[in-house]
Point group: C2
Chain length 329, copies 2
């Protein structure tokens, strides 16, 4: 690898001059500029980012911390983040924490040791780590925490919509599979749904889940249908859960959506491929990633940030696990 010295020697100038043309700052004679450019070309030189980072005490790297990229919700988030950051020449240092605080700390530490300029985290542990928060720009994604910069979707409204749609489409006996309460956006969905359900003229019951995984959902789905056989509407808290419920419902011979309506949450790519295709609440996941990246970029550049918390709207995606609503006229 050629260094700046090689280029300087080749061009017959000092390294300072080369540095100037590299960074396009300071005066440099037209002719010298040419010579340097040629030398760079000839030696196929490109600057060592590590040396740069060392001097500037910051890199062009951003740390991205996810619970688990294997969960279908996250790839698009990550893509949104990456695409946005990439435009400005930033690269991603990437890690999955499995929500394990140890792993999480290990990742954050090494990210910091590598002098990342910013951090984006979609993990719960991180958002709770209040003390000893790294002194670099940080944005929480799909998580919230008092005093932090955050980007998330409107869970409350999402929950409300689910309840409304279920009720409007004729469910009278609704079961909601409630996700873990310590994850705020998930809790919000629940709150929104209950708010509407409580003021509607329907029965409803809630089953508490420790995690929103397929495995647990399979189990809970069985309980659901044996414990509440009259259920004719289900809010599944996320699409993975909904898929498990749907599978179980079909297995025991329920007709969907005629016997039971099901609504998920997230609109992960698989949802439209289920059969029947899953009605769900769409979070603008890719956009959430983008927004988080944009917010972080502003923070890094110390630009004025108007809103510390960015809430994105959700929308109902009508597919085939809900009945058609009767139109008037």
């Amino acid at each position: 690898m050629a260094t700046i010295k090689d280029v300087a020697a080749e061009a017959g100038v000092s390294v300072a001059t080369v540095s100037r043309v590299l960074n396009g700052k300071g005066y440099v004679h037209e002719e010298t500029l040419m010579r340097v450019r040629e030398a760079i070309e000839k030696l196929n030189y490109s600057p060592n980012e590590v040396a740069r980072s060392l001097f500037k005490r910051e890199s062009k790297l951003v740390g991205l911390l996810l619970p688990d990229i294997t969960n279908p919700f996250f790839p698009e988030l990550a893509r949104g983040v990456e695409d946005e950051l990439q435009k400005q020449g930033f690269r991603l240092l990437f890690g999955n924490s499995d929500e394990d605080p140890e792993k999480e700390k290990a990742y954050i530490d090494t990210f910091l040791q590598n002098q990342v300029v910013g951090l984006i985290s979609a993990t719960q542990a991180f958002s709770q780590l209040n003390d000893e928060r790294p002194a670099i720009p940080t944005v929480l994604l799909d998580r919230t925490h008092e005093g932090s910069y955050t980007v998330y979707a409107d869970g409350i409204e999402g929950g409300r919509i689910v309840a409304r749609e279920l009720v409007n489409r004729g469910s009278h006996n609704i079961t909601v599979l409630k996700g873990p309460g310590h994850i705020q956006p998930v809790q919000d969905r629940f709150l929104g749904a209950v708010e509407v359900l409580a003021s509607s003229n329907v029965n409803f019951q809630v089953i508490q889940m420790a995690s929103l995984t397929y495995e647990e959902a399979e189990q809970r789905a069985k309980e659901l249908f044996s414990q509440y056989p009259d259920t004719d509407g289900i809010f599944a808290s996320n699409d993975i859960t909904a898929a498990a419920v749907l599978h179980e419902a079909l297995r025991i011979g329920k007709s969907i959506p005629d016997d039971v309506q099901i609504i998920g949450f997230d609109d992960i790519p698989m949802s439209r491929l289920l059969f029947p295709a899953l009605s769900t609440i769409r979070q603008p996941v890719y956009e959430m990633g983008q927004q988080a990246a944009q917010l972080l970029l502003k923070l890094i550049k110390k630009e004025q940030v108007i809103e510390q918390n960015i809430q994105l709207p959700v929308s109902f995606i009508e597919r085939n696990t809900t009945r058609k609503v009767k139109r008037n006229g």
Copy 2:
């Protein structure tokens, strides 16, 4: 951030000594050791990886290049790679290239500028980039290229299995949706299938696809059923394609698997959630990621590498888009 100098001052020793205890090499008195440890503790010091990288001319970073993490095949791959690398303290610099050579080059360049110690790539363009291949350890994942280190699944055998299973389970008129020929592992599936089909007593036809995307597959599926209405067995080349075909088949009223059997390839997580659940060929994706990481680690440490190409076995996952095979007895 405290530096090694601060620690030295705090402990009343020289930076050289601190460096020695940090790296556990060279002599250092028991008592001095203690003092230094205390100073480190007290100042909450951790070494600057960037400075280390600069001096050593290599980092603890590995570059991972993927076509698109949003494609459900890749998250598990990435996880396999990460988990394995993480054990040894390596971190991932991560990028999606969309198979765009420009983007690809940009990522590789910056990875190199950040002095990654190794590269893992699952992109096609990269494997073709023969000249000017970076002089650092590199392994190709799910791609092959003459002279490179590679990890991939046995596509040929996979193709054979698909053909055999389709035939054994009673299909007589088989359509294969062939993926892009320039991706070797995809081409292999095709070759394997044709090998068996050609020597079987069945009809078969092939439809060429430019990409294995859902969008194109939806289109091709329509052509398939109108052009070859007698098709009673389909090899879909990957699970995404299979999902699209399945959807279309159901839509036009085919009974699956009675009228038409469908077999996919990959066994992405969604496959078992489709309805009917998709029969497919399972690639050990997570393990492929691990193996690639292990191979890279060996390369980095200049350990003896026995096989330059690691081929992993595939297996048939019987679900509900294929008929039950008749058992003798």
